[in-house]
């Protein structure tokens, strides 16, 4: 099928974009387009106005300011996958990126697009939840920062008003010797995961865990952090992680059911993926990275 007609806008600055979003109705923002253009072609969405933000250079910056990595909404997945800054500080993101779509979709797909589209099985929003990212939102009414814990407003619904846009995502890296793990199960490489998991661990010189973060995705409408299991890890020896307990905690999370995948199967996968992610994080803890 072909996209229904729409008016096409290509703002060059953040101010122009903010102005357009205030004045247009039934408008959609076009970022990398790897989900939206497919939805347009299938006429699943029929906006009157399409606002292409690919020409706004201010949205495509990737930089380190102080201890924080700031990723512009329009930074491409391909760029992130090959950026030394990301490899050094956010290795779990690099590992997740290898599972995002394919070479041809990563060339155009952006981190901001993934985080606004919010497919429940998407890897990048889940990694933002895992890393406690902060979302900088902008618009004619000004800037505001939304913590990851408030970003997921509902199924495929980010905490953005119609006149707002995502400007950048800020992430504070964990210490240099943190352990990280990522695991997902998908029917084919590059598909959205059925279920995936991510884990971060930090330990002191004696091997006692000081900080832990765990996330599941593909299970419910939005990525799920496991605060109780995280708290239980803190203070335990990394060598004595209770993997069976972690897998049970993962299985006990809220699970959706759909035509292809039952809740029971998702729960089973959740236990296995969580086990694999934490195991990988444990193995990398306090290791020098190449």
């Amino acid at each position: 099928m072909k996209a229904a007609p729409f008016h096409f806008h290509q703002p060059a600055t953040l101010a122009e974009l903010a102005g357009l979003l205030t004045s247009l109705s039934n408008a959609r923002i076009l970022a990398g387009g790897q989900s939206l253009v497919a939805m347009l072609n299938l006429r699943l969405v029929t906006p009157d106005h399409l606002v292409d933000i690919n020409k706004i250079a201010d949205l495509a910056t990737l930089r380190q300011t102080g201890g924080t990595i700031e990723i512009g909404a329009m930074v491409r997945q391909h760029t992130l996958l090959h950026a030394p800054l990301i490899a050094q500080h956010l290795p779990v993101l690099v590992e997740a990126l290898g599972h995002v779509g394919h070479m041809q979709t990563r060339s155009r797909g952006t981190i901001g697009g993934s985080c606004c589209h919010l497919d429940p099985s998407a890897e990048l929003p889940a990694m933002c939840a895992l890393l406690d990212a902060a979302f900088t939102v902008n618009g004619a009414r000004g800037r505001r920062i939304v913590p990851a814990s408030d970003w997921f407003a509902g199924l495929m619904q980010a905490a953005l008003a119609e006149d707002e846009f995502l400007e950048s995502i800020s992430i504070t890296p964990w210490s240099g010797k943190h352990g990280y793990g990522f695991a997902e199960y998908a029917r084919r490489h590059g598909d959205y995961a059925i279920v995936g998991a991510g884990a971060l661990l930090e330990a002191d010189g004696e091997g006692t865990i000081k900080r832990a973060a765990l996330v599941l995705f593909g299970c419910d409408t939005a990525p799920q952090r496991l605060p109780q299991a995280e708290a239980a890890l803190v203070g335990t020896r990394a060598a004595n992680i209770d993997f069976a307990g972690l897998a049970a905690a993962a299985r006990a999370q809220e699970m959706m059911s759909d035509a292809q995948v039952t809740a029971a199967y998702r729960a089973r996968l959740a236990g296995i993926m969580m086990h694999r992610a934490v195991k990988a994080a444990q193995g990398r803890l306090n290791k020098e990275r190449p």
Binding site: A3, P5, F6, V37, D52, Q104, T105, S107
Partner: protein, 159 residues
């Protein structure tokens, strides 16, 4: 809603009008008459429409023609030079890497992009690169062998 576009396709400057809702694949085929780029699913899952835009492989069905203003596009029509197949195209013929040929332009453009970035990829890199391209005929084996043959030749010529 129609606007004039100027862009470079296979090294030639071109200019033509495109409606806002036309994707790059239809623009190449129906407006520029370059029918080598094949449209399969038109929603980003089959990879048959892959072209190279500013050096990067992209799905032509997931990019609007208007977004290609000023871009440098390479399509399968640009691979052969002076009537001679590119090394990858020749390897496709030698290794039976195609039957019906529907997926072939997308496979060629994807692997051409890969081989520029990584001149000597291994089998797993090749398989990962074409994981976004569906072939209903070959079982992929011949395609992988063709790409490996070019990779091996590249290695021999650099060592």
């Amino acid at each position: 809603m129609t606007a004039m576009l100027t862009l470079t396709v296979n090294g030639r400057d071109m200019s033509a009008a495109a409606p806002a809702n036309m994707h790059l694949g239809d623009f190449l085929r129906h407006v520029l008459g370059l029918t080598g780029t094949h449209m399969g699913c038109e929603h980003g899952v089959c990879g048959s429409c892959t072209v190279i835009v500013d050096g990067q492989p992209v799905r032509a069905c997931l990019m609007l023609a208007r977004q290609a203003q000023g871009a440098r596009i390479e399509t399968v029509e640009g691979l052969a030079q002076d009537g001679r197949l590119s090394p990858l195209q020749a390897a496709f013929r030698d290794h039976h890497a195609l039957q019906c040929g529907f997926c072939t332009p997308g496979m060629l453009m994807t692997l051409t992009a890969l081989l520029r970035d990584v001149p000597n990829p291994g089998e797993s890199e090749i398989r990962a690169a074409i994981s976004g391209n569906i072939c209903r005929c070959t079982g992929y084996q011949g395609i992988v062998e063709a790409a490996l043959a070019v990779a091996t030749r590249n290695e021999a010529s650099t060592s």
